[in-house]
């Protein structure tokens, strides 16, 4: 099927307009015109992307297509450019070359389809806002300039807080939350964006086991409703268990594809340049011995 041009996003001046004010009828879950989880352009398509900080390249020649409805782990050693990949796709760091398309269009036109969970350390948690305030920020993009969040946005914020099990903490100043709770708040804020694609930068770092489990379940729920989720991930041990698709990265794209065929010891050794610890290798061997997927 041929996608009709999305008139609303076409008529908006792209650069200076935050996410369009969504029409009331087109709510979360509903795909934009021309976007279906099975046909049409893929959620994320990266061509020939190179990113450099102060002239030092961090990512080289990345070519990547992410299929819809997948839970994708971005895996690689420290300094491999995992976060940078996300930030480059989101336009937070300039591309030295290449281009990024979200459902077949430039990101600037598709922001309303994208939710983002930054690393927890990037903000000042002493900031005078409550958990609820932070979650409400997820709806700001849809609101556009000058408008204040209304009953509808507040209700959505309450819903997603409930979804991450944080309703009881809505009125807490965010410093008074534990690391895991702060991460849940960030997650809820992304959910409030009502997106089709979610980017999460190390959502499991510094959280307790219970929160990690809760987050994983939430990610699986998102996938089951057709969303695409990209997660920067550190723990090799849990990759197989959490993700059905992986992107192995070490400044270059080492491999990308279904976890079962891509997350191999060979690929991992290429990614980690032989730095894969014995422990990791042993864990891998054990898994294969158990006949894991």
């Amino acid at each position: 099927m041929i996608a009709p041009p999305n008139k609303r996003s076409m008529t908006l001046p792209a650069a200076h307009t935050p996410d369009r004010s969504a029409p009331t009828a087109n709510q979360q879950g509903a795909l934009p015109p021309g976007v279906s989880p099975t046909a049409g352009p893929p959620p994320i398509e990266v061509h020939d992307m190179t990113v450099a900080y102060h002239r030092k390249p961090v990512l080289w020649d990345i070519d990547l297509v992410v299929p819809p409805g997948k839970l994708v782990g971005i895996v690689g050693p420290n300094g491999a450019g995992k976060s940078t990949l996300i930030k480059a796709i989101l336009g937070l760091v300039p591309l030295a070359s290449g281009k990024v398309e979200i459902f077949g269009r430039p990101y600037a036109q598709q922001r309303h389809l994208v939710g983002y969970v930054p690393q927890r350390e990037t903000v000042d948690w002493d900031f005078p806002v409550t958990a609820f305030d932070v979650v409400l920020m997820g709806t700001y993009g849809r609101l556009g300039w000058f408008l204040r969040p209304n009953a509808r946005e507040r209700q959505r914020a309450a819903e997603v807080l409930e979804q991450v099990g944080m309703s009881a903490y809505a009125d807490r100043q965010i410093r008074q939350l534990s690391g895991g709770q702060q991460q849940r708040v960030f997650l809820a804020r992304a959910l409030a964006q009502d997106a089709q694609i979610y980017f999460m930068d190390e959502p499991f770092s510094g959280v307790d086991a219970a929160t990690e489990q809760a987050i994983v379940e939430l990610l699986q729920t998102l996938r089951s409703t057709g969303k695409t989720v990209l997660v920067v991930h550190h723990e090799l041990q849990t990759v197989r268990q959490y993700f059905d698709h992986v992107i192995l990265l070490n400044m270059r794209l080492v491999a990308a594809g279904p976890t079962s065929t891509t997350f191999t010891t060979e690929n991992l050794q290429t990614t980690y340049g032989g730095r894969l610890t014995i422990l990791d290798q042993a864990a891998e061997a054990l898994r294969r011995g158990e006949g894991a997927p």
Binding site: P18, Y116, G180
Partner: protein, 453 residues
């Protein structure tokens, strides 16, 4: 009160109000030093504008000059940070003193020019609120109201951008434009403030209200409102005090030393009034204030000492339970190295609570005392067991100081601990009973001894 004082009063209060609001955002973005930079970098602009206008002391020309060099200073800092490895605070220090030095040299040159003596440029260094004219107040009013309106209009955008600029950008907000808007508003307010409180004191006017307001609230909206009120109070109090209000009230001048009757300078008094409010907040604010923190600490200490008493009594009585034996005082004191005074004060509290009973040669737990002593001991031992076996429960609920934690465990967490330990088969006895001390278990050969008391 004369009409002139009223004018000055209105001007200073409005200025304080606007500075408080825009300054609060710069504090939250950890860019409080920007105010310093702006005001110091404004000085050469004022001098240049004076030279350019050939000695005309048109207020607005001078303001324009101040604004331009102020913004130039900010731009320079940004440039230096981006293109060299200089850190922002160092860059601010360099640019600020360079501009201020340049300004002083320029003003010295101006003083020597024919007619330069009347320029009165030093007013801009030290400020001269008392000489505010109606026109000055009008300018202040326009700028202040405009600044507050911008913040009100862009409240949501500023809030998001100040909290999480990366997220704001990903959501599509033009963060550079927001940053520039915020900086321009700050610059305008700073520049207008220069004539009132002076280059050297403008930063205080920008920083003190916001920093003071932060003590009282965890909500951004309320913080901005309080900063506005505090700023206005600073301005008003400074003006009134320097206009002799205190003297009128008291019937004598408390600030006149000897026979010196010179009026006090308004700018510094404005700042000092702010400092007084800041110190007051620092001391008495709930939650963030020093007193309330001290109080919480003292309460915790007391509670800890009390609980330690019950636990020690329980442990000393334990071999003979359910009988409630008399525990001799020396034995009790020896367990915890309590001084006789400490012990007697602890016992007095416990006695009043009806948890212990005195005996001729010591004390014993009352039945009620046994109940709470058992609960405390149970919590303590469960916590110890838990630590010994390697913590693996949600640290969520227990991110307090490790030393005080067992005294703060709410009952539901204690029960969760018991359930968890029972599940792992590590809990001797029934989950609701007091477990025997882990120090008597074989597990105690473990080197990590959590005993800290």
């Amino acid at each position: 009160m004369s009409g002139l004082t009223l004018t000055v009063l209105a001007g200073s209060a409005l200025l304080g109000c606007a500075s408080g609001v825009v300054g609060a955002f710069s504090i939250l973005r950890r860019r409080a030093l920007m105010g310093d930079l702006l005001s110091h970098a404004a000085l050469p602009g004022i001098c240049l504008a004076f030279l350019y206008a050939a000695g005309e002391r048109d207020y607005h020309t001078l303001l324009a000059g101040a604004f331009l060099t102020g913004v130039l200073g900010v731009a320079l800092v940004t440039f230096v940070c981006r293109w060299t490895r200089t850190k922002e605070d160092a860059a601010i220090g360099i640019v600020l003193s360079t501009f201020f030095g340049g300004g002083i040299v320029l003003s010295a040159i101006i003083q020597k020019l024919p007619g330069g003596r009347v320029a009165g440029l030093e007013r801009y260094i030290y400020g001269q609120a008392a000489n505010m004219s109606r026109g000055d107040v009008q300018t202040i009013a326009i700028v202040s109201v405009a600044a507050i309106l911008v913040v009100l209009l862009l409240y949501k955008e500023f809030k998001l951008f100040s909290f999480d600029a990366g997220f704001a950008r990903a959501q599509g907000w033009p963060t550079l434009a927001l940053d520039l808007t915020m900086m321009s508003v700050l610059s305008l307010v700073a520049v207008v403030g220069v004539k009132t409180v002076g280059v050297l004191l403008v930063p205080a006017l920008l920083i003190i209200p916001g920093a003071t307001a932060r003590f009282w609230t965890n909500r951004l909206g309320l913080m901005l409102f309080l900063a506005a009120v505090i700023g206005a109070c600073m301005g008003a109090a400074g003006t009134l005090i320097s206009a002799g209000l205190l003297t009128d009230w008291l019937g004598f001048d408390p600030l006149a030393f000897g026979r010196n009757r010179a009026p006090l300078p308004t700018g510094p008094i404005i700042v000092l009034s702010g400092t007084a409010l800041f110190l007051l907040s620092l001391a008495i604010a709930p939650e963030r204030g020093i007193l309330s923190r001290l109080l919480a600490l003292v309460r915790l200490r007391r509670r800890t000492a009390q609980e330690n008493l019950y636990r020690t009594l329980y442990e000393l009585s334990e071999p003979r339970l359910p009988e409630l034996p008399v525990v001799p005082l020396p034995a009790l004191a020896a367990e915890r190295s309590w001084s006789p005074r400490q012990l007697s004060s602890l016992l007095k509290t416990a006695d009043r609570a009806g948890l212990i009973a005195r005996a001729p040669d010591g004390v014993r737990l009352t039945p009620a005392g046994l109940l709470s002593a058992a609960a405390i001991t149970r919590a303590h031992r469960l916590w110890e067991l838990y630590l010994i076996q390697g913590a693996n429960i949600a640290t969520d609920h227990v991110d307090r100081d490790a030393d005080s934690i067992e005294h703060l465990l709410p009952p539901e967490i204690v029960d969760a601990l018991a359930a968890e330990l029972a599940r792992r088969g590590r809990l001797p006895g029934a989950p609701a009973a007091v477990p025997s001390s882990p120090h008597l278990l074989p597990a105690q050969t473990h080197p990590a001894n959590p005993q800290h008391a």
